[in-house]
Symmetry: C2
Subunit: 482 residues, 2 copies
């Protein structure tokens, strides 16, 4: 995606050696400029064209040289610092750091290649997004289901799974969707996948989206954007408004499909208003476009009336519904699903006749048993209460320790919130936080085209933290604010 | 892929109503003509354009009308008969059968959509390929590993897996490959995938093969061909010789990559000679092409000296090695892996940075424990002896009951063989077999371009059958031969 044109070393203004970087950045790519720059510099370092001890151009210099926004450079530098590729030396500048060679000679070394983020001090509280609660998890029952699954009359163990996934699981999901999400889907319409990214890749082929434009919320889930890009789609970023993405923008665009997170916009957290849901469905009916509804954490809603899923409002089979067990159960089951409109089933059966199911039927059957036993429903209800308590604690602590030095964004549901910062940049706070042992994250990667504002948020995931950790973490973080 | 142009009903020569079919068949597609015709007719029936009781054109009529080979039409008709879409009435012709509606109204009906093949009588012995042995499987130990995996210090349960897969499993695979397949691969080069089709899709993107030509054995593994096609590759079918695919053909072609099964050609079973292996590697070194080695059942070899894998001979990092646990362990773990040459790791890390691992770490860690305990190695050795006995029994029975009425093809290794038929077509034998309660299969789908000869083989998978079943099955089948 990025081409190296040249790399020269010249005398910097400070008399020291300063590297001049000339990466090729392509604004056409779905990959953001920040990410392209980040990857390009990382590659230069890993392949030894940028050597430890070389001084990097200042953010100002590089911003001017590349004619990109300051955020782009700042974001790339900060990411590289967090990963240990660059070192910032106060009053001196940013330098290329010593790194482990990315590819050790076969057999010899044994650390995984992917370099771990190296915090400057021990991490006491990690607000990473995506983790779920450990303590209240019904581990014993889940283990029971795993071994019961294998105990079942088990010829299936010695064969491939049904192509669409184990029927028992699809039936349970069908019941679950009707009860919890108001979605009517026959087991025959449900397709089990090994994660939402696989769901999206499959939908790209099902709807023949290669070379077509797909609308996405800006900012939106970057994991989805990458897949659309890799499948040959053009991304149309759609600005967000208080009540969700701008449907007007979609109506005036030429997109063939819209991917969105209506129940809990990722990462901003707003909920798509009912009127916009209706407008969006109208758009689909009139243009023949498709709506890809990613309901990644719809189970966890704490305030206000639940709004019906787009799928439950869909009368002309234009909504493709994506669900996952990563938030509602365990990321480690790697279990997601698609609800395919009946009118597309025929296409699906034709295009994917030669494909095997990717998810182990062992996991599928264990999950089906877990749902049949009623444990899953109990688990969801238990977790909703638990996450609500954590969520309230988080909001209370922020209110208490940070007051009006920050603004909370998207506080009605889900397992994360955003903080809008004042008088400090995202990366300053990340750095300072690490010094104090609290790890927080930038949502910058979720923008296709970051703007100055993109660099004034931090993202706090709380699913995996205890009430005490949340309190401690917020207090530590508050002490880093101006 | 296939377009309906028109469909007319006209008076057939026999005075009855005969449907005239005018499908659009595209010789450019990776999908074989037989498969295109099969899917097109199936769609016509499912969508009610071909109605139960309509008479189909005779094989001769349709062959002439479409200007395709008789095998193409025969194969499509036979497949549709096996699936219950068409009925052959002796002395009358082939008719559209009554079928269940493919898409029942949501919630109402509960059978999976994909129509099961309906044998004319009960199946006593099924020579399906892909099943493995049930009786000798160490189920107790595997269950132990599953629950031990979950018992391990289990924070990982509440997180996503490492992107490349769990390190513990990659380390075990690394050791296993060195010991059993002579392949030196650091855990850092190994990537866990949810099945070989996922491995191939990933490689297409890693090598940027979209729009490029990829060579495949003709016949070859159709599951791989579909993926290459769907990823936008052009398939270059390479004829087979006694000692494997024609390297000469590849040298004179413009392909960017070769996908092949050198240890045990699928489905013909020959082994790529050492001299051809060297030539193929030379081709890759000289042209910069890549070799994708699918070693799907390399563990099970019964006669002659083992030949080193292409990967173990590769000195310039041009071989990408694909392995799987589907044959050596269980199809239901849905666990495969890729060995990526160090020179491509950087590309991989860049292109797939945004992707999550698809295989549940529960399965990965259970497999790692199973391998650590030595159980996997014992299992392989036990299975090799067991499959060798089954394999010998199969050959002996064929010799005894069929004598020179058939010819055995590819008898040195693996979990299946082919029989070359004399005086009876594949589909006649399949039909007659079903009447007697023995189910055998056509390898026709493995040809991109079937030829008259393609329709004179049947495929016998024996992995999942007992010695007794094999004996009974061969005897029943022999009674169907002329």
């Amino acid at each position: 995606m990025t081409k190296v044109t040249e790399l020269r070393v010249l005398i910097g203004t400070d008399g020291g050696l300063t590297v001049e970087l000339t990466p090729f950045l392509d604004r056409e790519l779905p990959e953001s400029l920040y990410s392209q720059l980040y990857h390009w510099i990382k590659k230069e370092i890993e392949e030894g064209r940028l050597l430890p001890g070389m001084k990097m151009p200042s953010i100002r210099q590089l911003t001017a040289h590349l004619k990109v926004s300051r955020n782009t450079v700042e974001a790339a530098y900060q990411q590289l610092q967090l990963e240990g590729y660059l070192e910032s030396v106060p009053k001196s500048g940013i330098w290329v750091a010593e790194i482990e060679k990315p590819l050790p000679h076969p057999i010899e070394v044994e650390q995984p290649i992917i370099l771990e983020c190296k915090p400057s001090s021990e991490v006491l509280v990690d607000f990473e997004y995506g983790n779920v609660d450990l303590d209240k998890f019904p581990l014993r029952q889940w283990k029971k289901c795993l071994s019961e699954a294998v105990d079942q009359e088990n010829n299936w163990l010695f064969q491939y799974s049904e192509k669409q996934g184990e029927f028992a699981l699809r039936r349970e999901i069908s019941n679950y969707l009707l009860q919890f999400r108001g979605v009517r889907a026959a087991p025959e319409q449900i397709l089990i996948t090994a994660g939402t990214q696989n769901s999206i890749a499959l939908i790209c082929r099902l709807l023949a989206l290669r070379g077509k434009s797909v609308a996405m919320e800006e900012p939106g889930y970057s994991g989805a954007r990458s897949v659309f890009g890799d499948q040959g789609c053009y991304i149309e970023p759609v600005p967000l408004e208080k009540d969700g993405l701008s449907v007007e923008h979609i109506q005036t665009s030429k997109v063939k499909a819209v991917y969105l997170t209506p129940s809990h916009q990722f990462p901003f957290g707003m909920i798509l208003s009912i009127s916009k849901r209706i407008q969006l469905l109208k758009w689909a009916y009139q243009t023949g476009g498709y709506i890809i509804e990613d309901d990644y954490d719809g189970e966890f809603r704490y305030q206000g009336q639940p709004i019906p899923s787009l799928k439950s409002l869909d009368e002309e089979e234009k909504v493709i519904y994506l669900g996952t067990f990563s938030k509602s159960f365990l990321p480690s089951v790697r279990l997601s699903y698609i609800v395919i409109p009946p009118s597309l089933m025929d296409q699906y059966l034709r295009k994917f006749a030669a494909y095997n199911q990717s998810v182990s039927p062992i996991i599928q059957r264990a999950m089906a048993l877990f749902m049949q036993s009623g444990e899953f429903e109990r688990h969801i209800r238990r977790m909703r209460r638990l996450y609500q308590r954590k969520h309230q604690a988080l909001l209370r602590n922020i209110e208490q320790y940070m007051g009006n030095r920050v603004k909370i964004v998207g506080e009605k549901s889900g397992l994360h919130i955003l903080l809008k910062l004042k008088g400090i940049s995202t990366f300053e706070l990340i750095e300072n936080g690490l010094q104090k042992g609290v790890k927080v994250y930038s949502p910058l990667m979720f923008w296709l085209n970051p703007n100055p504002e993109s660099n004034s948020y931090i993202m706090l995931g709380f699913g995996g933290l205890s009430i005490e950790e949340i309190d401690k973490g917020v207090r530590l973080l508050a002490s880093c604010l101006p």
